[in-house]
Amino acid sequence: MSEILPWITLVVCAGAALARLPSAVRGVNPTLFFIFLLATAAGILSIEQFYVVIDGALGGINIAHVVLRLIVFATIYLIAVRVTKGFGAPDAHRMIAGRPGLAMLGIFAAALVTVFLLMDPGASSVRFRDAGAVSARNEALLPYYWAAARGYLAYVSLALLPALLRSVKESLPPLVRTGAALMAAGAVATVAGLCLEFAPTQLLVVAPAVNNGAVVFYTSGLILIWLARVKAASGGGHGTSSTER
């Protein structure tokens, strides 16, 4: 089960990136294509076969995992900037792209790299699975590494959540509202992913599902919002003709 989840995530992200390619070539919101491209890259690095090859090229000491986490930071940052602008949430926008937001990004990225450098180098292991087994020092440091990795995502998700939930309640096109709801679910899953790092071990079995679910929720939310536009464009009107006569 946990072997297939990263593949699903990868297929969804790669599909979205491919679908955005024509628009990006036309110059329509190329950032969005870039977001899905980054997500695809993150998806590739989450799959064992690819991870081992790429990390091998980077020295085989799990540098690829730090790169993966930084890619994820960049992806969620770019998504959040778009979402706060689109959903009209200036406060959330400041908390993410303003001075406090960038400071948070810097702190978490620096913490991530610092903790990684403090750890003893270990052999390539996808999702950093075996890092704790290398030494007692690593085992002690690993929770901090994951706290830094998931902390920034949870911070951004919490900042986005109010704006997303507000949009679900507003009278926007149904597909847009569903999209916002899916992204809100993604935000909740992200925060849950952080909480699971501190949960008792029995709960850890659901962690892969929660973390992959977060990616799938965010991505499919964006896809739905896009489909809403496609539908509105093909339907001709703006879908607001209910007051006619």
């Binding site: 919101n29 959903f87 009278s171 926007l172 919002i225 809403a228 007051t243 006569r245």
Partner: protein, 253 residues
């Protein structure tokens, strides 16, 4: 809330004995899957009864009255009040009446002489329901406490009731409950929601036009103004929603 399937089957047996469901659906235009689904769930929609009774030349209101929930529809013969009647005139028709009344005689037309089919003095009122007919109807019979009384009588939360009015909908049972609580003719709400026509509800022919003619110029102008203001609010809200949607798309598509 809808009608129990058992009572419906009994009624159907009386209306169309020895007729297959397929035939009933073909004659009445009710989709066969829809009816089957309603029967399986044990709840038949009022619209189904209305469609079938029309197909068999029965009065839909009388047909509904054979069901327990609507039994008092039969005994109710209060004629609609002028306010109710006027509430069922579309805003465009009210505005047309304003123009016809205020324009000096002889210059009401557009100036083109070729078309004689349209008599500007007697424009046909479009049949109810119109875009805001449910809310306008409730406003017309509301003494200020009506929503509260309906809520107490039916157990439906006021905000759910208001939401239905805003969406220009009202469940038939609630529509009748509203009439009952307001002490007006019980079928009025069914006309406003479009479930039955004014003729089927026993409203005299031309009653709306007559009520409109009885409105003084001042009342007509004031009423049209209220309608326009409400329309403006709705349109503005829609425009804001549209703007927001566009902004979302601009950034996320």
């Amino acid at each position: 809330m809808p009608l129990p399937a058992k009572a419906f089957q009994r009624w159907l047996n009386g209306v169309a004995p020895d007729t297959s469901t397929a035939d009933i659906c073909r004659v009445s235009g009710v989709k066969r899957t829809t009816l089957a689904q309603q029967l399986v769930r044990g709840k038949v929609a009022e619209t189904t009864v209305v469609s079938i009774s029309r197909a068999y030349n029965l009065n839909p209101v009388a047909a509904l009255a054979t069901f327990d929930t609507y039994s008092d529809l039969a005994s109710s013969s209060l004629p609609p009040s002028d306010k109710e009647l006027v509430s069922q005139i579309a805003t465009v028709d009210l505005l047309r009446a304003v123009i016809v009344r205020t324009a000096p005689t002889g210059s009401t037309g557009t100036g083109s002489t070729g078309t004689e089919s349209m008599d500007p003095r007697q424009p046909e009122l479009s049949p109810p329901p119109h875009a805001t007919s449910v809310k306008n109807w409730v406003d017309a019979i509301d003494d200020g406490e009506l929503r509260h009384r309906v809520s107490t009588a039916t157990g439906v939360a006021p905000q759910n009731y208001s939401a239905q009015l805003t969406a220009n909908r009202l469940a038939p049972e609630l529509a009748v409950a509203t009439s009952r609580a307001a002490g007006v003719g019980l079928a009025g709400g069914l006309v406003a929601t479009g479930l039955v026509t004014e003729a089927e509800a026993g409203w005299p022919r031309g009653a709306r036009q007559a009520a409109l003619d009885r409105l003084s110029d001042g009342d007509l102008a004031a009423l049209s103004g209220e309608r326009l203001q409400a329309l403006g609010k709705t349109l503005r809200r829609q425009e804001q929603d549209q703007e927001q949607t566009e902004r979302i798309w601009e950034n996320l598509v």
